[in-house]
Amino acid sequence: MSLSDLLILLPQAFLLVWASLLLLVDLFISKERKVITAILGAAGLAITLGLTSGQWGSRATGFNQMVVVDNFSVFLSGLFTLAGLVAIVIAYDNMRRTGIHKTEFYSLLLFSVAGMMLMSAAADLIIVFLALELLSIPLYILAGLAVPRAGSAEGAIKYFLLGAFASGFVLYGTALIFGATQGTSLAGIMASIQSGTAELPLLVIGAALLLVGFSFKVAAVPFHMWTPDVYQGAPSPVTGFMSIGAKAAGFAALIRVFSLAFPSLAGQFAPIFAVLAGLTMVVGNVAAVSQVSIKRMLAYSSIAHAGYILMALVPLADPSVAANSTASALTYLVVYGITTLGAWAVISAVENADGGDTSVRDLSGLARQHPWLAAAMTFFMLSFTGIPPLAGFWGKFYLFRTAIEGGYTTLAIIGLLSSLVSAWYYLRVIVMMYFRESEAGASRAPSIQIAAILLALAVLVLGLFPSGLFQLALQALANGVS
């Protein structure tokens, strides 16, 4: 093995080694000092973030073109590690308060982040599959972290069964694509399509099966059924991490595979993506309106946001729009990630100590008791809705703009209308916090408050200076994808 191969995967390898050692070290840390495990876990993620950002600007393939490190992978790896860091900060307080401080959380979270990073660097369908499993298996267990709480067990088993089902689709699709192109490397598949040696019907079925598998992961309608139960049952910090991590990893795979390996199929898949995106936006937003539980509401909201992002994958066939639309998807992932982590941080703080479900009503009067948390939550809800000048507005702006540029005005209008619907349930949260009698109690732990406030600031700053993030996303595509 040439050393350069290993250097390419240094951040992932480091994180995996760190996570394994953390698992061992934790066994010898006494029960009162488990904070050390949390700090070590965060340190591992921070070092990984440093290592991965050092790779910005370079482009290299390794292990016989199975992995590729380019700005795209670094961009997403940064997102994953940061999401992991925030999740640890939120989780430490929440897990202690709800009596489920299980230190396996930290190792499993690190494993999952490593899987997501591997996914963003995957250039071979075998690696895509393995990364999908590596990021999912820890998430199944994290969803069940609060076992024997019934909701957590239910969420874990549903997530596991449907996740395994989705993996089956990915695997079958990979097998058919292998049959059609005699290879699993994305570059090889592209070459085979261009030289005309690929068996087209097989390839199309394979690609469609891959799409089904990934749609499960990003929770696109009609493959979204698991989302509300899992988001509701899993411990809130885990849900927060899952809502951005698993989704972004799914989109990483979609973008890599569908823009790198199948650009010539993009035209055929455009209508499918368009239908998926439209359905996902409408169903997600409409179903969220009637939810009593805020966890279920945010679950449907996460489905709706997956729909917005799917819109960016529709115009891939048009080379003049492809780069802009993929960049807007990346921008939206970051914006959505910050907002959703923030919202789940607030929920983690508000959650009852028995770890049961949290309803929208539980937030009533939060503004009087915890003005900072309430203010932060207001920012997140407004950003989700897409109110200027917050980051969420610009995220949607870029997505709708590229959809219109790509000639999918109808889709953009559907997106706009469903956003209007979404305003109803997001604003209801704000009304609850500010105009209802005080009932809410919340954690006074400074860590969680600081995290929420910092994330709210990020939403504001990215909203005031939106072009920087979009330019970064464009650069992320400059030396690799599209």
Partner: protein
């Protein structure tokens, strides 16, 4: 070739029948036993595909270990032997329609592919498949990365299994 085809057809019938029985017999323990037959049939199919190593793996891992696990899991449940509740719920018709549609689409598209009608007869297969496998699993230019990632996957699954499988006494340990 004729012998191969006869064996294949018999095995296919056995596997499909067993698989249908797995999901249709009312008692779970019986379903688990039928599953073993289906898995054994898959091992025969691997032999027919000239992949003896995978046939052995199929027997060791699936029949030897996973089937045992499934039977244990069935015996963990409350009504291992007398589960005779309804087999279908109200979505069964819809599910059957969707599955049939998917099956029809996949079969139709596969049949429209000319490769399905003129498959290569007896392609040359290296007899030393296990040697090739060993070489490619340890070759960095082969499948070294998936090989090592697989071991990480096993580790994550191990941690998860122990975490979930431990006896959690509801709320007592934590408080």
């Amino acid at each position: 070739m004729i012998l191969d085809q006869v064996i294949f057809l018999i095995t296919a019938v056995v596997v499909l029948t067993a698989a249908i029985l797995v999901v249709s017999v009312p008692k779970m323990i019986h379903a688990a036993l039928w599953l073993i037959l289906a898995l054994a049939g898959i091992a025969v199919l691997f032999v027919l595909l000239q992949a003896p190593f995978f046939a052995v793996v199929q027997v060791i891992v699936y029949i030897g270990a996973i089937a045992v696990l499934v039977i244990f899991a069935v015996m963990l449940t409350r009504k291992a032997m007398q589960d005779d509740g309804p087999q279908l719920n109200r979505y069964s018709v819809l599910a059957a329609a969707v599955s049939l549609m998917l099956f029809a689409v996949l079969t139709g598209m596969l049949l429209s592919w000319d490769g399905a009608n003129n498959l290569p007869v007896n392609p040359a297969v290296n007899p030393d498949t296990i040697v090739n496998l060993g070489e490619s699993l340890t070759n960095p230019q082969g499948f070294l990365l998936p090989f090592e990632v697989a071991s990480i996957l096993l580790l994550a699954a191990l941690v998860g299994a122990i975490y979930i499988g431990r006896e959690h006494r509801a709320g007592k340990e934590e408080e």
